[in-house]
């Protein structure tokens, strides 16, 4: 019996070795709806946690916007909260304020009601607007499918052009272990009048609840 099970183990082991380097990826190129790099972002008009309405026009002096789709309880969003606050602190004065948008439908995700958003913003001391996408159309227009999901917009001839899409940095879980600050690097390149080098990154996130 023992010999038999060991032989089976050996067999799987050999298969494991044989297939170790044969990783294949399908090359399907499916276009995902929403903005891509270079798209013009439409204006928004959404209710903030302080009950005022916020649009990009509220920031006539801004050079652009750090638009972050995020939510109240997704562990990846929660792990990013302090970094989002730090980004607003670092870049608002340089012309790139943070605009946070919660895309979740509270009927599907009860943790994301407007009232709980207000509590979150107060508890964490958000220094930026935290907007409720009541019509649940903005995230679809942008193509945001998860939280957190970042869109960096740069103003150009009164248009807002998408310059970067993706993650804040290369380590969602642990801020101390971040090696590359994707978003901050992109903003600094724009501020220096350069083209963004790394325009898109991928990150694990919680799917938008609709």
């Amino acid at each position: 019996m023992k010999t038999k099970s060991l032989s089976i183990l050996m067999f799987f082991c050999l298969i494991g070795i044989a297939t170790f380097s044969s990783f294949k990826i399908t090359e399907a190129e499916e276009s995902i709806a929403g903005y891509t790099i270079g798209s013009e972002a439409a204006n928004i008009n959404l209710k903030n946690v302080d009950n005022t309405m916020v649009s990009y026009d509220n920031y006539p002096d801004a050079l652009g916007f750090i638009v972050i789709f995020t939510c109240n309880t997704c562990p990846y969003a929660v792990a990013s909260e302090d970094r989002i606050i730090a980004l607003d602190k670092e870049f608002k004065s340089k012309g790139y304020p943070v605009i946070a948008i919660n895309p979740n439908n509270p009927e599907v995700q009860p943790d994301d009601t407007f009232e709980l958003m207000q509590e979150k913003a107060k508890a964490k001391g958000f220094t930026f607007p935290y907007l409720y996408d009541e019509s649940q159309t903005v995230h679809a227009e942008y193509g945001a499918v998860k939280t957190p999901h970042v869109y960096l917009l740069q103003k150009e001839n009164k248009k807002r052009i998408v310059r970067y899409i993706g993650a804040i940095d290369d380590n969602v879980r642990t801020a101390d272990l971040v090696k590359e600050r994707f978003l901050a690097n992109a903003i600094n390149e724009l501020l220096a009048g350069k083209e963004v080098t790394l325009k898109e990154t991928k990150a694990i996130g919680c799917s938008v609840k609709q």
């Binding site: 050996m10 170790f20 990826i25 998860k146 380590n171 990150a203 694990i204 938008v208």
Partner: protein
């Protein structure tokens, strides 16, 4: 005979790191992999069809669809179908959330935990179609490979599997 067994056992242990983890699994432990260690599970080339599901305990649509994957794992075992759950929970939640969840829900399929922080580097290696949102699923065998960034009910999952089988 005993010596032969020990020799075999030693060969197994030393010749194949992956297998060591599979043995640990039998002991009902959830192995923690980085992406390079996970990759062989995404690319086996044998007569089995693998359904690899990326999930987390905090992901409601993931948790909702897990019983359907479990049912497939049982119902289609005779057709050489194997379900593998890849948890994207933070590793410090393994003992406190993941394992209690698996025990409570009596999950029988294989479960591993992927601990690899730089998701930007490995998400495209799972699928170029993947945005990083979960749930996400790969169904593959030696002939076909399909990726799905979506949630399933039982019928939908079974239909996709039947196309590939």
């Amino acid at each position: 005979m005993k010596h032969l067994l020990y020799t075999l056992a030693l060969m197994v242990v030393f010749s194949c790191a992956e297998n060591k983890k599979e043995v640990a699994l039998v002991k009902e432990k959830v192995p923690v992999f980085n992406f390079d260690e996970l990759q062989p599970l995404l690319s086996k080339d044998n007569d089995t069809t693998y359904i690899v599901n990326f999930w987390a305990t905090w992901c409601k649509p993931c948790v909702k669809e897990m019983p359907y994957f479990e049912k497939i794992n049982t119902q289609y075992a005779k057709d050489k179908v194997k379900v593998v759950f890849v948890s994207l929970d933070f590793p410090d939640k393994l003992e406190t959330q993941v394992i209690p969840f698996l025990e409570k829900n009596n999950i029988k399929s294989q479960v591993v935990l992927l601990d690899d922080a730089d998701a930007n580097s490995w998400i495209p290696r799972v699928s170029k179609e993947w945005s990083g949102a979960i749930p996400a699923t790969i169904i593959y065998n030696s002939a076909t490979r399909k990726f799905y960034e979506r949630a399933f009910n039982y019928e939908e999952l079974e239909n996709e599997l039947k196309i590939i089988l």
